[in-house]
Assembly symmetry: C3
Homo-oligomer: 164 residues x 3
């Protein structure tokens, strides 16, 4: 009976953590689309590393650096970041977690031309003072239209086996 209670509590704790982490990932999108960069930066750890692509200009260090670097998003007139497929893996220490999610990001320039990309965020999170924050984010590109030309990390598929 005691083990049943422990198991039930563990299940509930996992659900609460997954929900809290999912809400952090959604908040990133909401703050980015609104360009509330202060609120966005508060979702990351002070020493976070965020790597959108292989070029140094697409890599941010620290929440303050990320806040500064994402000012580049002002070049878009409108953006909409649709996040789905949120998969969270909690570690046994209850303090660290990993998450993979899918994003469909639409961007419009002031001239009305648009750019759409599809990708995955691969995140590491840590619980600090009762709140989950993103400590590491790597974005990988699974698809894009002709209007999108930012050099995001390529998502790697398993290559077709010989004869398949």
């Amino acid at each position: 009976m005691a083990s049943e209670v422990a198991s039930r509590d563990e299940g509930l704790g996992e659900l609460l953590d997954k929900q809290a982490i999912t809400e952090v990932l959604y908040a990133y999108c909401a703050h980015l689309d609104r360009m509330d960069l202060d609120a966005l930066a508060a979702l990351f750890t002070d020493d976070c590393v965020v790597e959108y692509g292989p070029e140094p200009r697409l890599q941010s260090h620290g929440a303050a650096g990320l806040r500064r670097d994402l000012a580049r998003m002002w070049r878009w007139a409108r953006t909409s970041h649709h996040l789905s497929n949120v998969m969270v893996t909690l570690e046994d220490d209850r303090v660290h977690a990993g998450a993979t999610s899918y994003v469909l990001a639409w961007h419009e320039r002031p001239d009305g031309s648009t750019a759409t990309m599809m990708g995955q965020y691969r995140d590491r999170l840590v619980r600090e003072g009762g709140r989950w924050r993103i400590s590491r984010r790597r974005q990988e590109l699974t698809g894009n239209d002709a209007g999108f030309d930012v050099n995001i990390n390529r998502f790697e598929r398993i290559p077709r086996p010989d004869g398949a």
Copy 2:
């Protein structure tokens, strides 16, 4: 120990309410895409206010009014409403809640031309007789293609600060 149980129960209650509310928002999309307007109207309170845009013709009053007004969606041959980023905020009374969600809505006319919009639903919900219903819905437009020309409320970004 009693407070731990109370806290655990509170956490579970919040998760159950968030799940129930999320399912209401998904049901809206499913019923709309199937054009099951009776089932759709049952998701709203009798005195609901639904505001898709600033023009009176895009504002519905009451579940019965909404059911009647959404007959305009028959002008599309097909629609698909993809809902994501569901963020629910429960109020302390456990009877009221707010929700923000993202929608990517694709529409096709009988002539095969299409219109795609991206936006956010900003909802108020109330628990009535054990069921959550939408009492207020405001839609805001975050993006659209050239084929979409309905006058939806504009989503407001924070303007670029001077010098940024």
Copy 3:
């Protein structure tokens, strides 16, 4: 008091099952986009039936058959399957469940041309050895662009009533 505990446990059990099933549906997308067909096949029961469309070539029988048939997806250079609107219905036996979800699937050919489809998965799942697996999947098409020409089952809308 005992009934409150039972009710609470039931609510928690439902949330855990819905979360587990949702993760199975997300894993399908992740494995398919990576073309990890072994991992994908392990999400289905040995005797599963998967029906993407009305033609026999779009119907797979058994996890091994599905694994073999989905090798056709190598013809795409890149894919991205964005899953949302996951609605799970648990049956009283706690062993069977139904799920409906929305997918936005983008595909790119080696020549750079693309095909996008929108649809719904209608699934049956069964709990086997503590894990939920998909025993039946039917895909229905709610929308597509001109580049997508696979004969997926058509999603049926309620027809416009006379005079509406």
